[in-house]
Amino acid sequence: MNKSNLWSLRLGFSGKQAQLIEQLGFEKFLNQSYATAFEKTLPTFLDDEPKTIAELKELRQSIKNGTADDQKKVIKKQIKNATELKKWWIDKFLTEKFPLREKMTCFWHNHFVATSQKVKSTYWIYQHNMILRENAFGNFKELTKLIVKSNAMVRYLDNVDNRKDKINENLSRELLELFTIGIGNYTENDIKEGAKALAGLNLGEESAVYRRFLEDNSTKTYFGKQGNFKADDLVDIIFEQKNTPYLITRKILKWFIYDNPSEDLVVYYGDYFRKMNFEIKPLLTKIFTEEYAKENSGSKIKDPLTYLFQLTDELNITNSNSNLISFFLKQQGMDLFNQPNVKGWDGGNSWLTSQIYLQRNNASDLLCNGRNISRKVFDKIPEEGDDLEIKLEKINVSIDFNKNGNNKQIISELSNRLLFRVDENLQKDMENLLKYDFDAKDANANYAVLRLFNYITKTPEYQLI
């Protein structure tokens, strides 16, 4: 596979940026990726979402006192806005010229998990997502502070129920176990004391605030230090610990490059991260440039997002339906804003089960046939009254290839874009599909190349980058 294609896939979601990487060079490409501005205005579908505590109370009151019909309406609207939020993000994935910020935002989204389902406020989820976007290349310690104090997180991890006479340890525990230093590096007592420090940190207007009567102002002992610590103090202390950088560098390596990164690499980059005071940009630059120089393709299973976007990009599908994309992602176990639990999507091998693989193959079959992916194909058991005769939506698909090339040139052109390795059998299969006397100028040639592409997308090799 071409390096530019490989890294376009790694730093984005498809081969779309390969040309840009070649034009700019890798370093410039990275710098421009970091420098990308992003939209800060509130999306219109959030205009009438309740935003202040007062508005939320009002809404809750109206549900409580309303009829069953009113309640239904409110819930329907909530679901609709949550769906709109997904589509809003998917559109960003699709359209960013330099998608690295979105890829990194998605990384943080899966690190500092807060789901729509539990938070139940699309506005707070949006806020949380914007913090991740704004700080995607910022400082990990500062980002952690902001997230702990976000409305979405204090609700998601039940800190709204954490008060001095009734401690709830959830946020305190995950702050250590999942967000920063990781299991094995702290004591149960640290969690208890941390929970005390977080007691009373509750929903606020723009971000969470301490409630005077619920907070615990006693002296806490945290990693051997003593004081009347609050949320920011906890984060400061955690980031003084030697082992704090490794969990995150391991996760970054897993997100971008290796399903199973070596511990040596984790420590190597982790130590550098600490030295850079947890500045994310220099860490990413170091990882990307050093890994770019290595031969390490084929070490990661594509996540559903990358799988699908590469497919639609290769097939030159321009009018992607973000509703269907969102549905596909959910079916594939990558439902945005709705990870199964606080640990987030596991990634790696868990991206592929036989069911998921089959869905991927079906999606490829449909798209290569010029038909959109549809619920019909994924819902195995049709419901009563479903019209089985629904015609599938027709879309225009085509694949780029050298119209002056012979079969081997076209095969290697596609392989270089799509496959991290081609062994003898695979090459033989491809030459069987596109034989030596294949004529690229033949009226039907594009269909033949589409069939080749379709075949490639179903190979095990294609599932890896």
């Binding site: 269909y447 069939r451 095990p460």
Partner: protein, 388 residues
């Protein structure tokens, strides 16, 4: 597979059971005995099989004149019948014909023949005119119309790549690269190291288990065993698996597999003999297996290639040609030789002129065996007389 779904698929009923005589009257126009579920098994010979050295006009002096280096000696040919006989490697083809189970259809091709492997295979697989293009295969189109719901195992392709012939709008067929994958996996197999890349190994293992319809296939396999032992060749293996699926009552309508290596531009005598031997042995095992299981009348085997080869040799081999014979085995065929013997004196640029359009054969198979109106998939050629 849900048997109920298949009732809409064919005009025939449950496998292995004799139909009620009453029912046969409904098919009054058909005089063949339709017994049980019918299926078609296609064996595509890739590369352009040399028809003239397969089913040989051994009494035609022109044959020896034009093929000085590669003609098969008249004393070696087998199963002589009205001036035609089989290549010595095809001894069991002669046997099957003697048993009344094999028909030969001579000079099969299509107008304005194309001599590109790639394009000619496309033409055979889509059943179009040679200047027309379709993105769906003829069997795929047939299954699209016959399967009311998506039926992953309506067509089974045993090959490493998908076959255009089976490609339809709906995925009603599957390609099985290695039927061994359907054997119940043991822990030992799971731990086998496949490559130096553990992630790739992981994905390959998943890939091996994903084929849609694999439950149905496993079920069919668990219900059947091989009655006889097959040769250890790729084609024989594939046919052995097909036999097990048929015997296990999978109820697929179409099976497809292929054998490569027929592109004999050079060193033809050796290569062709080896390939025909492989073909003969594999098919005869398959035939014997089906016969023992009393299923041969339900299974129609179709052997064809994308084109035949040039009449005159090029030295030790032959170049791409046009018309060639097709072989039909089983399915209660009438065991005849259909069509005239190849005319070696009336050639088109050194190639045989076709007399029977391959789509006539397709039409006959669809109508007689699948009870399907072939016009619906755009085949307008006339059915062949006297095949079934």
């Amino acid at each position: 597979m849900n048997r109920r779904n298949f009732l809409s698929l064919t005009g025939t009923f449950t496998g292995g059971m004799l139909l009620l005589p009453d029912f046969l009257h409904a098919f009054g126009s058909q005089n063949n005995l339709v017994i049980g579920e019918q299926c078609l098994v296609f064996i595509q010979l890739n590369g352009g099989n040399d028809g003239l050295n397969t089913f040989i006009p051994y009494e035609n002096p022109l044959y020896y004149d034009l093929r000085t280096k590669i003609a098969i000696n008249k004393n070696e040919v087998i199963g002589k019948n009205k001036g035609m006989a089989f290549h010595p490697a095809l001894k069991d083809f002669a046997q099957m014909q003697q048993n009344g189970d094999l028909s030969v259809i001579q000079n099969v091709g299509y107008p304005e023949p194309v001599r590109s492997h790639f394009r000619s295979q496309e033409i055979w697989q889509t059943a179009t005119d040679s200047n027309k293009y379709l993105n769906e295969g003829w069997l795929g189109r047939y299954l699209d119309l016959q399967c009311k719901e998506h039926q992953p195992t309506a067509g089974i392709n045993l090959d490493s790549i998908d076959n255009l012939a089976l490609k339809g709008v709906e995925p009603n067929s599957i390609t099985v690269k290695d039927p061994n994958r359907f054997k119940i996996r043991t822990d030992k197999e799971e731990n086998v190291k496949l490559s130096d890349n553990p992630q790739l190994d992981f994905v390959r293992k998943i890939a091996n288990s994903v084929t849609e319809g694999s439950d149905d296939i496993q079920k069919a396999l668990s219900k059947s065993t091989a009655e006889i032992s097959y040769p250890k060749t790729g084609l024989a293996k594939n046919l052995e698996w097909i036999a097990r699926l048929v015997k296990g009552n999978l109820n697929s309508k179409v099976y497809y597999t292929s054998l490569g290596g027929f592109d004999t531009h050079d060193n033809q005598l050796d290569i062709h003999k080896r390939k025909l031997t492989e073909l003969n042995d594999a098919i005869f095992s398959f035939y014997t297996d089906l016969k023992k299981s009393q299923l041969l009348q339900n299974v129609t085997i179709v052997v064809f290639s994308e084109f035949g080869r040039r009449v005159k040799d090029n030295g030790n081999g032959t170049d791409h040609g046009t018309a060639a014979p097709m072989f039909i085995i089983g399915g209660n065929n009438k065991s005849k030789i259909i069509g005239n013997n190849p005319n070696l004196s009336d050639l088109d640029n050194g190639d045989l002129k076709h007399q029977i359009d391959f789509r006539s054969v397709y039409a006959t198979l669809l109508k007689q065996k699948m009870n399907f109106d072939y016009n619906k998939i755009g085949i307008n050629n006339k059915e062949l007389e006297g095949l079934f």
